[in-house]
């Protein structure tokens, strides 16, 4: 059974329309939602929470229409970006709050608190007030509060975005571990593409109030279904070249290069198309043929494990990711080749072909 099922749900706001959304999130799944700012991510969470009165469609939780469930029966908890901890309560009191509200027995409260504290490694900070905790510690307490009640799903709205980069990396693997151990359904919203792709079993990509692709991270990265997805996923983003397909559909032709395709796209022969190639799929070459465009390097960003090269091909800015650790402008040569098995082609409407 699906933990959350959304069918044809839509909601009109004054400047924005969410949906129609169709989505099924499995029980025990770590489900990510990613999109640019104001693409509808938080609205979608609100819809799952039941905070939105739908214009159309329905949301089912564990197979039951959520409209027929009282709020207390929905079993959905939420971790907000700003945590919303009670400042006058200790970590312990914050965590057990939802349990005491439900008038759980003392033994049940103790058992759940112990379990949560162990997973989150927070036993030593339970006595502190939020003001005495570090950002990461407060984060764990907020998670603890959401986990204290065994519910149907936990929704997390950019839960680590307020932390610094190092702590963010550590927290995301903790979250993943926790979710595995507790076999909880997590719905995780973030505007950090790397983060969402790293933790999720499946990801929904949102844009302009719609879900434009759903799938496992590998599939979304390797086979984006549209230019919109290709631009949103991957850092630095995919390089895109406008052009057209040859009359037999076997080659892609642009003003600065002509490239044979791994298999012909006869259905689109002669049509305008965009070729996409990820920064790591561009390699230097001594070949100067038509398939190997000339490049002019403008700058390099050495990042230690790899280097990002900023260059132009036929006047268009491109980014190249070299696998070599250190690379100077002189080592890049004058021509590059694209990895033919890893090219992405999109038609004039931006759909993958």
């Amino acid at each position: 059974m699906n933990a959350i099922e959304i069918n044809g749900a839509s909601k009109r706001y004054p400047n924005f329309t969410l949906g129609p959304i169709d989505l099924a999130i499995g029980e025990g799944e770590f489900f990510g939602i990613f999109g640019p700012p104001s693409s509808g991510k938080t609205s979608l969470l609100k819809l799952i929470l039941g905070l939105v009165e739908l214009d159309r469609g329905r949301v089912a939780l564990g197979g039951t229409d959520s409209a027929r469930l009282a709020v207390s029966q929905r079993g959905i908890s939420m971790v907000f970006q700003n945590l919303a901890l009670f400042p006058n309560m200790s970590g312990r009191e914050n965590i057990i709050y939802p349990l005491t509200e439900r008038k759980a027995s003392k033994s049940e409260i103790d058992a759940r608190l112990d379990a949560v504290a162990e997973v989150l490694h927070i036993s030593h900070i339970l006595h502190k007030n939020p003001a005495q905790m570090s950002g990461g510690e407060r984060q764990r307490i907020a998670l603890g509060r959401a986990l204290a009640v065994k519910g149907r799903a936990i929704l997390l709205d950019e839960p680590v975005s307020a932390l610094d980069a190092r702590l963010r990396e550590e927290m995301r693997i903790e979250l993943k571990r926790l979710q595995r151990m507790d076999k909880q359904t997590f719905v995780y919203v973030s505007n950090d593409e790397e983060e969402v792709m790293a933790v999720s079993d499946r990801v929904a990509i949102m844009d302009h109030g719609q879900i434009i692709q759903v799938g496992p991270p590998d599939e979304i990265y390797n086979r984006p279904n549209s230019i919109s997805v290709a631009k949103l996923v991957g850092s630095p983003p995919m390089n895109l070249f406008p052009g057209h397909l040859s009359d037999d559909g076997e080659r892609f032709e642009s003003p600065s290069f002509t490239m044979s395709l791994d298999f012909p796209r006869t259905a689109h022969a002669g049509a305008a198309a965009t070729l996409g190639v990820r920064p790591e799929d561009i390699h230097q070459t001594s070949d100067t043929g038509a398939a190997c465009p000339g490049i002019a390097v403008s700058s390099t960003e050495p990042l230690g494990s790899h280097t990002i090269v900023n260059a132009t091909i036929g006047g268009r800015l491109v980014k190249i990711r070299t696998s070599g650790r250190v690379i100077g402008a002189s080592e890049l040569g004058t021509h590059v080749s694209f990895d033919q098995r890893r090219l992405h082609l999109f038609n004039a409407d931006g759909e993958r072909i």
Binding site: P37, G135, D164, A165, V199, Y221, R278, P302, S305
Partner: protein
């Protein structure tokens, strides 16, 4: 343009030392990042350079001159803050023109320079609109443009990209670098994001608890961190650092970890430690891409085995979390070998291992090539 010498500067707030005995030489036209966790003293350092705070001890020289008695507005320093600080009730044009207008430049000059800067920043079509109508990304471009337009000799940026979304941040990084190269200004950039520091700066000053931990070119601090703090802070995914006790049994050394894991210390790292005979406790550092999965690359490499806990996709690569007897290692999985729940053999590249003294955190032994 100006060089800056920070000479033995300390800044105390009551009993708290925000900055301790900081020495930093910044050459004319250099792009320097002040990098560290929140509260490390990087913003206090920048505020002292700007003249917003006075050092409690020590001095700051600009082209060899002490400016502590010069008014802030006469120091010719440009600022960009995290929270934009732009006039939202004025048009984009007026915001850009502001710094030139208060300097009483001729009208044609102002117009020409505003148009050029708007073009640079991709704001040409917005010139007549109120700044309040701009998107977050455009506001930050405006903030940078407004400071850059007066061509200050020193440009100070305090986390200017931290409010932006990830894709735009990457774009602005490249933009800033080009801007700095064109103007040739001395730039000081405060950030807690080591990727920003690595990609932008000529040199990085890594600061922790008010103290300078290391100062050098990005690849130098990445490849040869001088202490455990820098090793841990610079690089993403982060370096594996394993703390344990050095034991010498029958002529061969090993690192014994509390969890029961034992790591033989062969090759260069063994020699590094041998040269520090007094060392009992140490940390062994190895970057995730220097752990090989599946096969041995070099006879000195250190073999271990463990359980794959998780595999994450990070851009074009996958990152595996492997637990060997309770100790977790991050390894780059270049060839998609790993599946969660499987037992694997993995190898630490001996030539890439680094040793840090357990007591002081200082690096032991020689540089990594």
């Amino acid at each position: 343009m100006s060089s800056i010498q920070i000479q033995d500067v300390t800044k105390s707030f009551g009993d708290f030392k925000a900055v301790s005995n900081l020495c930093l030489d910044i050459a004319e036209g250099e792009f320097v990042a002040l990098l560290g966790p929140s509260g490390c003293g990087k913003t206090t350092t920048m505020n002292m350079i700007a003249g917003l705070e006075d050092p409690s001890e020590g001095s700051i020289l600009f082209n060899g001159q002490d400016l502590s008695s010069t008014r802030i507005q006469d120091r010719n320093i440009g600022f960009v803050f995290q929270n934009y600080a732009i006039f939202t009730h004025l048009t984009v044009f007026k915001n850009l023109a502001y710094g030139l207008a208060v300097r009483h430049l001729p009208k044609q000059d102002i117009e020409r320079r505003v148009k050029a800067m708007a073009d640079r920043m991709g704001l040409s079509h917005r010139l007549d609109q109120k700044a309040s109508s701009l998107s977050v990304n455009e506001m930050q471009k405006l903030a940078i443009g407004r400071s850059a337009i007066v061509e200050p000799r020193i440009f100070l940026l305090d986390e200017p990209l931290s409010n932006l979304d990830a894709a735009f941040r990457a774009y602005m990084r490249a933009e800033l670098k080009v801007l700095q190269r064109e103007f040739g200004q001395t730039m000081i950039y405060v950030t807690h994001d080591q990727i920003e520091a690595m990609s932008l700066a000529d040199k990085i000053a890594i600061i922790d608890r008010g103290k300078l931990m290391q100062y050098g070119a990005p690849l130098e601090v990445y490849n040869n961190p001088t202490n455990r703090f820098v090793a841990n802070f610079v690089g993403s995914p982060r370096m594996n650092l394993v703390d344990g006790e050095v034991k010498n049994t029958g002529g061969s050394m090993k690192l014994v970890i509390e969890t029961g894991l034992e790591i033989p210390l062969s090759g260069r790292v063994g020699a590094d430690i041998a040269s520090h005979r007094s060392t009992q406790r140490m940390s062994l550092g190895i970057r995730p891409q220097d752990i090989y999965l599946g096969d041995l690359h070099h006879t000195d490499d250190i073999p271990l085995s463990g359980l794959v806990e998780e595999v994450e996709r990070i851009g074009p690569k996958r990152l595996a979390y492997i637990t060997a007897k309770g100790t977790r290692f991050l390894a780059v999985d270049e060839r998609d070998y790993m599946t969660p729940g499987s037992e694997v053999e993995f190898f630490l590249a001996a030539e890439k291992c680094m040793a840090f003294d357990g007591a002081t955190g200082e690096r032991m032994g020689g540089r990594v090539q």
